[in-house]
Protein backbone atom coordinates (compact mmCIF):
# COMPACT_ATOMS: atom_id res chain seq x y z
CA UNK A 1 0.00 0.00 0.00
CA UNK A 2 2.82 2.30 0.97
CA UNK A 3 4.66 1.52 -2.25
CA UNK A 4 1.53 2.08 -4.28
CA UNK A 5 1.00 5.48 -2.68
CA UNK A 6 4.64 6.36 -3.27
CA UNK A 7 4.30 5.46 -6.92
CA UNK A 8 1.08 7.39 -7.20
CA UNK A 9 2.74 10.44 -5.67
CA UNK A 10 5.69 10.23 -8.03
CA UNK A 11 3.41 9.71 -11.01
CA UNK A 12 1.27 12.66 -9.95
CA UNK A 13 4.34 14.81 -9.57
CA UNK A 14 5.51 13.94 -13.06
CA UNK A 15 2.09 14.76 -14.48
CA UNK A 16 2.03 18.13 -12.77
CA UNK A 17 5.65 19.12 -13.13
CA UNK A 18 6.64 18.12 -16.65
CA UNK A 19 4.17 20.48 -18.40
CA UNK A 20 6.01 23.34 -16.64
CA UNK A 21 9.36 22.20 -17.94
CA UNK A 22 9.75 24.61 -20.88
CA UNK A 23 8.74 27.71 -19.01
CA UNK A 24 10.81 26.77 -15.96
CA UNK A 25 13.82 26.27 -18.17
CA UNK A 26 13.25 29.62 -19.89
CA UNK A 27 12.96 31.35 -16.52
CA UNK A 28 16.06 29.54 -15.21
CA UNK A 29 18.06 30.60 -18.24
CA UNK A 30 16.99 34.21 -17.79
CA UNK A 31 18.08 34.08 -14.16
CA UNK A 32 21.37 32.26 -14.63
CA UNK A 33 22.10 33.64 -18.11
CA UNK A 34 24.02 30.51 -18.92
CA UNK A 35 22.80 27.29 -20.51
CA UNK A 36 24.75 24.87 -18.32
CA UNK A 37 23.81 26.68 -15.15
CA UNK A 38 20.20 26.81 -16.26
CA UNK A 39 20.19 23.08 -16.85
CA UNK A 40 21.73 22.41 -13.44
CA UNK A 41 19.17 24.71 -11.90
CA UNK A 42 16.22 23.01 -13.54
CA UNK A 43 17.54 19.56 -12.78
CA UNK A 44 18.06 20.44 -9.14
CA UNK A 45 14.65 22.06 -8.97
CA UNK A 46 12.89 18.93 -10.18
CA UNK A 47 14.80 16.65 -7.83
CA UNK A 48 14.15 18.94 -4.86
CA UNK A 49 10.51 19.32 -5.77
CA UNK A 50 9.99 15.59 -6.06
CA UNK A 51 11.65 15.01 -2.70
CA UNK A 52 9.50 17.66 -1.11
CA UNK A 53 6.33 16.82 -3.01
CA UNK A 54 4.77 15.20 0.04
CA UNK A 55 4.99 18.58 1.78
CA UNK A 56 3.22 20.34 -1.09
CA UNK A 57 -0.22 21.28 0.08
CA UNK A 58 -2.94 20.25 -2.27
CA UNK A 59 -5.10 23.15 -3.32
CA UNK A 60 -2.23 25.64 -3.28
CA UNK A 61 -0.56 26.87 -6.44
CA UNK A 62 1.74 24.19 -7.81
CA UNK A 63 3.26 26.46 -10.47
CA UNK A 64 4.16 29.09 -7.90
CA UNK A 65 5.58 26.35 -5.69
CA UNK A 66 7.84 25.08 -8.49
CA UNK A 67 9.01 28.58 -9.39
CA UNK A 68 9.72 29.30 -5.74
CA UNK A 69 11.91 26.21 -5.48
CA UNK A 70 13.73 27.15 -8.68
CA UNK A 71 14.25 30.71 -7.55
CA UNK A 72 15.45 29.70 -4.08
CA UNK A 73 17.81 27.19 -5.66
CA UNK A 74 19.16 29.93 -7.89
CA UNK A 75 19.53 32.43 -5.06
CA UNK A 76 21.68 29.98 -3.11
CA UNK A 77 23.88 29.21 -6.13
CA UNK A 78 27.11 31.11 -6.71
CA UNK A 79 25.62 33.11 -9.56
CA UNK A 80 22.49 33.81 -7.59
CA UNK A 81 24.36 34.97 -4.52
CA UNK A 82 26.42 37.31 -6.68
CA UNK A 83 23.35 38.72 -8.43
CA UNK A 84 21.28 39.21 -5.30
CA UNK A 85 24.18 40.78 -3.39
CA UNK A 86 24.07 43.82 -5.68
CA UNK A 87 20.44 44.60 -4.87
CA UNK A 88 18.82 46.48 -2.01
CA UNK A 89 15.23 45.36 -1.98
CA UNK A 90 12.54 46.03 0.52
CA UNK A 91 13.57 49.47 1.69
CA UNK A 92 12.96 50.74 -1.84
CA UNK A 93 9.73 48.93 -2.41
CA UNK A 94 7.51 51.46 -0.73
CA UNK A 95 9.13 54.55 -2.15
CA UNK A 96 7.16 56.74 -4.51
CA UNK A 97 8.65 56.73 -7.95
CA UNK A 98 9.41 59.88 -9.89
CA UNK A 99 7.81 60.24 -13.29
CA UNK A 100 9.91 58.60 -15.99
CA UNK A 101 10.57 59.91 -19.47
CA UNK A 102 8.31 58.86 -22.30
CA UNK A 103 9.22 55.35 -23.38
CA UNK A 104 10.18 54.34 -26.90
CA UNK A 105 8.08 51.17 -27.18
CA UNK A 106 6.63 52.22 -30.52
CA UNK A 107 10.08 52.58 -32.04
CA UNK A 108 11.06 49.29 -30.46
CA UNK A 109 8.08 47.47 -31.90
CA UNK A 110 8.53 49.08 -35.29
CA UNK A 111 12.10 47.86 -35.41
CA UNK A 112 11.05 44.49 -34.10
CA UNK A 113 14.24 44.60 -32.16
CA UNK A 114 13.86 41.66 -29.91
CA UNK A 115 17.53 41.41 -29.32
CA UNK A 116 17.66 44.93 -27.94
CA UNK A 117 14.79 44.19 -25.61
CA UNK A 118 16.36 40.96 -24.52
CA UNK A 119 19.60 42.73 -23.75
CA UNK A 120 17.67 45.28 -21.71
CA UNK A 121 15.92 42.55 -19.74
CA UNK A 122 19.23 40.81 -19.16
CA UNK A 123 20.69 44.02 -17.83
CA UNK A 124 17.94 44.48 -15.27
CA UNK A 125 18.85 43.76 -11.66
CA UNK A 126 17.77 40.29 -10.64
CA UNK A 127 14.78 41.35 -8.54
CA UNK A 128 13.42 43.43 -11.44
CA UNK A 129 14.23 40.85 -14.10
CA UNK A 130 12.44 38.02 -12.34
CA UNK A 131 9.28 39.96 -11.56
CA UNK A 132 8.99 41.24 -15.13
CA UNK A 133 9.43 37.74 -16.49
CA UNK A 134 6.94 36.22 -14.07
CA UNK A 135 4.34 38.83 -14.95
CA UNK A 136 4.87 39.34 -18.68
CA UNK A 137 6.23 36.03 -19.88
CA UNK A 138 4.70 33.56 -17.44
CA UNK A 139 1.59 35.73 -17.15
CA UNK A 140 1.31 35.04 -13.44
CA UNK A 141 -1.23 36.88 -11.35
CA UNK A 142 -0.01 39.21 -8.62
CA UNK A 143 -1.07 36.58 -6.12
CA UNK A 144 1.04 33.92 -7.84
CA UNK A 145 3.99 36.26 -8.02
CA UNK A 146 3.61 37.04 -4.34
CA UNK A 147 3.65 33.31 -3.58
CA UNK A 148 6.60 32.65 -5.83
CA UNK A 149 8.74 35.48 -4.51
CA UNK A 150 7.39 35.20 -0.97
CA UNK A 151 6.58 38.90 -0.80
CA UNK A 152 3.34 40.79 -0.04
CA UNK A 153 0.98 41.78 -2.84
CA UNK A 154 1.72 45.45 -2.29
CA UNK A 155 5.40 44.80 -2.84
CA UNK A 156 4.60 42.90 -6.01
CA UNK A 157 2.79 45.91 -7.43
CA UNK A 158 5.40 48.48 -6.48
CA UNK A 159 8.35 46.36 -7.51
CA UNK A 160 6.73 45.50 -10.82
CA UNK A 161 6.07 49.13 -11.51
CA UNK A 162 9.67 50.10 -10.78
CA UNK A 163 10.95 47.18 -12.85
CA UNK A 164 8.96 48.34 -15.86
CA UNK A 165 10.18 51.85 -15.40
CA UNK A 166 13.77 50.63 -15.22
CA UNK A 167 13.23 48.62 -18.37
CA UNK A 168 11.81 51.58 -20.25
CA UNK A 169 14.73 53.75 -19.22
CA UNK A 170 17.21 51.11 -20.20
CA UNK A 171 15.57 50.74 -23.60
CA UNK A 172 15.54 54.46 -24.19
CA UNK A 173 19.24 54.71 -23.45
CA UNK A 174 20.01 51.84 -25.80
CA UNK A 175 17.88 53.36 -28.56
CA UNK A 176 19.57 56.71 -28.18
CA UNK A 177 22.95 55.04 -28.64
CA UNK A 178 21.88 53.17 -31.77
Amino acid sequence: MEVAEERLTAATFEELAMPLFDQLYNFAHWLAQDRTEAEDLVQETYVKALKGFSSFQEGTNFRAWMYRILRNTFLTSRTGLKASATVALDSEDTLELPAGPETPETILIEHSNHQLLQTAIEALPLHFREIVLLCEVEEMSYQEIAETLSIPMGTVMSRLSRARKALRESLQQKLVRT
Binding site: R7, F13, F21, N26, E39, Y46, V47, T103, L108, I121
Partner: protein, 249 residues
Protein backbone atom coordinates in the same frame (compact mmCIF):
# COMPACT_ATOMS: atom_id res chain seq x y z
CA UNK B 1 -0.73 61.92 -17.08
CA UNK B 2 0.49 61.44 -13.54
CA UNK B 3 2.41 58.59 -11.86
CA UNK B 4 -0.52 57.18 -9.97
CA UNK B 5 -2.30 56.96 -13.32
CA UNK B 6 0.63 55.02 -14.82
CA UNK B 7 0.62 52.59 -11.91
CA UNK B 8 -3.15 52.22 -12.19
CA UNK B 9 -2.88 51.60 -15.93
CA UNK B 10 -0.31 48.87 -15.34
CA UNK B 11 -2.64 47.16 -12.90
CA UNK B 12 -5.45 47.68 -15.41
CA UNK B 13 -3.41 46.02 -18.17
CA UNK B 14 -2.39 43.20 -15.84
CA UNK B 15 -6.07 42.50 -15.26
CA UNK B 16 -5.75 42.92 -11.53
CA UNK B 17 -8.32 45.65 -10.96
CA UNK B 18 -11.77 44.96 -9.62
CA UNK B 19 -14.73 45.29 -11.98
CA UNK B 20 -15.66 48.70 -10.57
CA UNK B 21 -12.11 50.01 -10.90
CA UNK B 22 -11.96 48.74 -14.45
CA UNK B 23 -15.07 50.70 -15.34
CA UNK B 24 -13.59 53.83 -13.75
CA UNK B 25 -10.36 53.48 -15.72
CA UNK B 26 -12.30 52.86 -18.93
CA UNK B 27 -14.25 56.04 -18.35
CA UNK B 28 -11.09 57.99 -17.58
CA UNK B 29 -9.31 56.74 -20.69
CA UNK B 30 -12.09 57.98 -22.95
CA UNK B 31 -11.51 61.54 -21.76
CA UNK B 32 -7.74 61.53 -21.30
CA UNK B 33 -5.62 61.25 -24.46
CA UNK B 34 -2.43 61.33 -22.45
CA UNK B 35 -3.42 58.25 -20.39
CA UNK B 36 -4.72 56.53 -23.53
CA UNK B 37 -1.32 57.05 -25.21
CA UNK B 38 0.44 55.83 -22.09
CA UNK B 39 -1.77 52.75 -22.03
CA UNK B 40 -0.96 52.01 -25.67
CA UNK B 41 2.74 52.42 -24.96
CA UNK B 42 2.56 50.09 -21.97
CA UNK B 43 0.56 47.54 -23.88
CA UNK B 44 3.15 47.51 -26.65
CA UNK B 45 5.97 47.03 -24.19
CA UNK B 46 4.03 44.33 -22.40
CA UNK B 47 3.52 42.43 -25.64
CA UNK B 48 7.10 42.94 -26.72
CA UNK B 49 8.46 41.65 -23.41
CA UNK B 50 6.09 38.70 -23.55
CA UNK B 51 7.43 37.79 -26.95
CA UNK B 52 11.09 38.54 -26.30
CA UNK B 53 10.96 36.81 -22.94
CA UNK B 54 10.25 33.45 -24.50
CA UNK B 55 13.81 33.19 -25.53
CA UNK B 56 15.32 29.98 -24.28
CA UNK B 57 14.33 26.43 -24.95
CA UNK B 58 15.84 23.32 -23.49
CA UNK B 59 17.17 20.54 -25.68
CA UNK B 60 14.99 17.44 -26.00
CA UNK B 61 17.88 15.41 -24.52
CA UNK B 62 17.90 17.53 -21.39
CA UNK B 63 14.16 17.32 -21.07
CA UNK B 64 14.34 13.55 -21.28
CA UNK B 65 17.16 13.49 -18.75
CA UNK B 66 15.08 15.42 -16.23
CA UNK B 67 12.04 13.29 -16.88
CA UNK B 68 14.09 10.15 -16.31
CA UNK B 69 15.65 11.57 -13.17
CA UNK B 70 12.27 12.05 -11.53
CA UNK B 71 11.04 8.75 -12.93
CA UNK B 72 14.05 6.74 -11.66
CA UNK B 73 13.63 8.14 -8.18
CA UNK B 74 10.38 6.29 -7.77
CA UNK B 75 11.61 3.12 -9.36
CA UNK B 76 13.94 0.68 -7.64
CA UNK B 77 17.62 1.53 -8.09
CA UNK B 78 19.61 -0.46 -10.66
CA UNK B 79 21.30 -2.34 -7.80
CA UNK B 80 17.93 -3.23 -6.28
CA UNK B 81 16.68 -4.24 -9.69
CA UNK B 82 19.76 -6.39 -10.22
CA UNK B 83 19.41 -8.00 -6.81
CA UNK B 84 15.73 -8.56 -7.43
CA UNK B 85 16.39 -10.13 -10.79
CA UNK B 86 19.13 -12.34 -9.34
CA UNK B 87 16.87 -13.42 -6.50
CA UNK B 88 14.09 -14.14 -8.96
CA UNK B 89 16.41 -16.21 -11.15
CA UNK B 90 17.75 -18.06 -8.08
CA UNK B 91 14.20 -18.67 -6.88
CA UNK B 92 13.19 -19.98 -10.28
CA UNK B 93 16.26 -22.19 -10.35
CA UNK B 94 15.58 -23.61 -6.88
CA UNK B 95 11.89 -24.00 -7.67
CA UNK B 96 12.84 -25.73 -10.91
CA UNK B 97 15.28 -27.99 -9.08
CA UNK B 98 12.73 -28.89 -6.42
CA UNK B 99 10.09 -29.43 -9.06
CA UNK B 100 12.46 -31.60 -11.09
CA UNK B 101 13.46 -33.56 -7.99
CA UNK B 102 9.84 -34.12 -6.97
CA UNK B 103 9.01 -35.13 -10.52
CA UNK B 104 11.92 -37.58 -10.54
CA UNK B 105 10.72 -39.11 -7.28
CA UNK B 106 7.22 -39.40 -8.63
CA UNK B 107 8.50 -41.07 -11.78
CA UNK B 108 10.63 -43.55 -9.84
CA UNK B 109 7.77 -44.30 -7.47
CA UNK B 110 5.38 -44.76 -10.35
CA UNK B 111 7.85 -47.03 -12.08
CA UNK B 112 8.35 -49.12 -8.91
CA UNK B 113 4.59 -49.40 -8.39
CA UNK B 114 4.07 -50.47 -11.98
CA UNK B 115 6.70 -53.16 -11.70
CA UNK B 116 5.32 -54.38 -8.39
CA UNK B 117 1.83 -54.48 -9.89
CA UNK B 118 3.19 -56.52 -12.82
CA UNK B 119 4.87 -58.93 -10.42
CA UNK B 120 1.66 -59.32 -8.42
CA UNK B 121 -0.42 -59.92 -11.54
CA UNK B 122 2.14 -62.46 -12.76
CA UNK B 123 1.92 -64.27 -9.45
CA UNK B 124 -1.89 -64.37 -9.57
CA UNK B 125 -1.74 -65.72 -13.11
CA UNK B 126 0.90 -68.30 -12.31
CA UNK B 127 0.00 -71.95 -11.98
CA UNK B 128 2.56 -72.20 -9.21
CA UNK B 129 2.29 -68.88 -7.50
CA UNK B 130 4.58 -69.78 -4.63
CA UNK B 131 7.80 -71.74 -4.31
CA UNK B 132 7.31 -72.50 -0.67
CA UNK B 133 3.80 -73.43 0.35
CA UNK B 134 3.18 -73.02 4.03
CA UNK B 135 0.95 -71.16 6.41
CA UNK B 136 3.68 -71.27 9.02
CA UNK B 137 5.91 -68.24 9.10
CA UNK B 138 8.61 -70.29 10.78
CA UNK B 139 8.74 -72.42 7.67
CA UNK B 140 8.49 -69.71 5.11
CA UNK B 141 11.05 -67.31 6.51
CA UNK B 142 13.89 -69.88 6.76
CA UNK B 143 13.18 -71.00 3.22
CA UNK B 144 14.53 -67.65 1.98
CA UNK B 145 17.90 -68.11 3.69
CA UNK B 146 20.67 -68.18 1.08
CA UNK B 147 18.24 -67.13 -1.64
CA UNK B 148 18.06 -63.44 -0.88
CA UNK B 149 20.77 -61.17 0.54
CA UNK B 150 18.76 -60.05 3.59
CA UNK B 151 16.42 -61.37 6.22
CA UNK B 152 13.09 -60.21 7.63
CA UNK B 153 10.50 -61.05 10.23
CA UNK B 154 6.94 -62.13 9.61
CA UNK B 155 4.03 -61.37 11.91
CA UNK B 156 1.89 -63.71 13.97
CA UNK B 157 -1.44 -63.86 12.14
CA UNK B 158 -3.64 -65.60 14.67
CA UNK B 159 -7.18 -64.20 14.76
CA UNK B 160 -6.30 -61.51 12.24
CA UNK B 161 -8.22 -62.95 9.31
CA UNK B 162 -5.05 -63.17 7.24
CA UNK B 163 -3.53 -66.41 6.10
CA UNK B 164 0.02 -66.88 4.85
CA UNK B 165 -0.07 -68.88 1.61
CA UNK B 166 3.65 -69.13 0.94
CA UNK B 167 6.52 -67.30 -0.65
CA UNK B 168 8.84 -67.06 -3.64
CA UNK B 169 11.94 -65.27 -4.73
CA UNK B 170 11.36 -62.43 -7.14
CA UNK B 171 13.39 -59.70 -8.74
CA UNK B 172 13.09 -55.96 -9.00
CA UNK B 173 15.69 -54.03 -10.94
CA UNK B 174 17.84 -57.18 -11.08
CA UNK B 175 17.87 -57.33 -7.30
CA UNK B 176 16.46 -60.41 -5.63
CA UNK B 177 13.73 -59.98 -3.07
CA UNK B 178 11.04 -61.86 -1.23
CA UNK B 179 7.45 -62.14 -2.25
CA UNK B 180 5.00 -63.41 0.33
CA UNK B 181 1.40 -64.26 -0.49
CA UNK B 182 -1.27 -63.60 2.08
CA UNK B 183 -4.94 -64.17 1.81
CA UNK B 184 -7.83 -62.48 3.50
CA UNK B 185 -11.21 -63.88 2.66
CA UNK B 186 -10.97 -64.43 -1.13
CA UNK B 187 -8.39 -61.72 -1.73
CA UNK B 188 -4.73 -62.33 -2.25
CA UNK B 189 -2.17 -59.82 -1.19
CA UNK B 190 1.46 -59.85 -2.27
CA UNK B 191 4.07 -58.54 0.11
CA UNK B 192 7.31 -57.62 -1.65
CA UNK B 193 10.44 -56.98 0.33
CA UNK B 194 13.51 -55.62 -1.41
CA UNK B 195 16.71 -53.94 -0.35
CA UNK B 196 16.40 -50.18 -0.71
CA UNK B 197 18.92 -50.11 -3.56
CA UNK B 198 16.57 -52.18 -5.70
CA UNK B 199 14.14 -49.31 -5.96
CA UNK B 200 16.62 -46.44 -5.76
CA UNK B 201 17.42 -44.07 -2.92
CA UNK B 202 15.47 -41.28 -4.55
CA UNK B 203 12.27 -42.90 -3.38
CA UNK B 204 13.16 -41.63 0.06
CA UNK B 205 11.97 -43.04 3.35
CA UNK B 206 8.38 -41.89 3.21
CA UNK B 207 5.36 -44.12 3.02
CA UNK B 208 2.97 -44.03 0.10
CA UNK B 209 -0.31 -45.47 -0.81
CA UNK B 210 -1.68 -45.59 -4.28
CA UNK B 211 -3.94 -47.45 -6.59
CA UNK B 212 -2.31 -49.18 -9.51
CA UNK B 213 -4.38 -51.16 -12.01
CA UNK B 214 -7.20 -50.90 -9.44
CA UNK B 215 -4.97 -52.60 -6.84
CA UNK B 216 -4.36 -50.91 -3.53
CA UNK B 217 -0.70 -50.43 -2.86
CA UNK B 218 1.09 -49.46 0.32
CA UNK B 219 4.79 -48.96 0.54
CA UNK B 220 7.23 -47.99 3.26
CA UNK B 221 10.85 -48.13 4.19
CA UNK B 222 12.03 -49.97 7.26
CA UNK B 223 15.52 -51.10 8.38
CA UNK B 224 16.99 -50.62 4.92
CA UNK B 225 14.25 -52.63 3.28
CA UNK B 226 11.50 -51.41 1.05
CA UNK B 227 8.13 -53.07 1.56
CA UNK B 228 5.32 -53.13 -0.96
CA UNK B 229 1.86 -54.47 -0.26
CA UNK B 230 -0.44 -54.90 -3.22
CA UNK B 231 -3.78 -56.56 -3.68
CA UNK B 232 -7.41 -56.17 -4.53
CA UNK B 233 -8.36 -56.27 -0.86
CA UNK B 234 -9.72 -53.14 0.69
CA UNK B 235 -7.29 -50.46 1.65
CA UNK B 236 -8.13 -51.01 5.32
CA UNK B 237 -7.17 -54.71 5.03
CA UNK B 238 -3.96 -53.70 3.30
CA UNK B 239 -3.18 -51.24 6.08
CA UNK B 240 -3.93 -53.83 8.78
CA UNK B 241 -1.41 -56.17 7.24
CA UNK B 242 1.01 -53.34 6.95
CA UNK B 243 0.71 -52.60 10.66
CA UNK B 244 1.34 -56.21 11.54
CA UNK B 245 4.41 -56.37 9.33
CA UNK B 246 5.79 -53.16 10.77
CA UNK B 247 5.36 -54.46 14.32
CA UNK B 248 7.01 -57.78 13.44
CA UNK B 249 10.12 -56.18 12.00
Amino acid sequence: MVDHCTAKLETYLDGELSANEMRDVDAHLRGCPSCAADLLSQLQLKRAVHSAGKRYSASPDFRERVRKSIATTRRPSPIRLWLGATAAVALLFVAGLVSWSVRQQQLQRQQAFSEVADLHVATLASVNPVDVISTDRHTVKPWFQGKIPFTFNLPELSNSGFTLIGGRVTYLGQTPGAELIYQIRKHQISVFIFPDRAVGHDLGSSSWSQKELAFNIESWDQDGLRYFLIGDASSSDIRNLEDMLKKAS
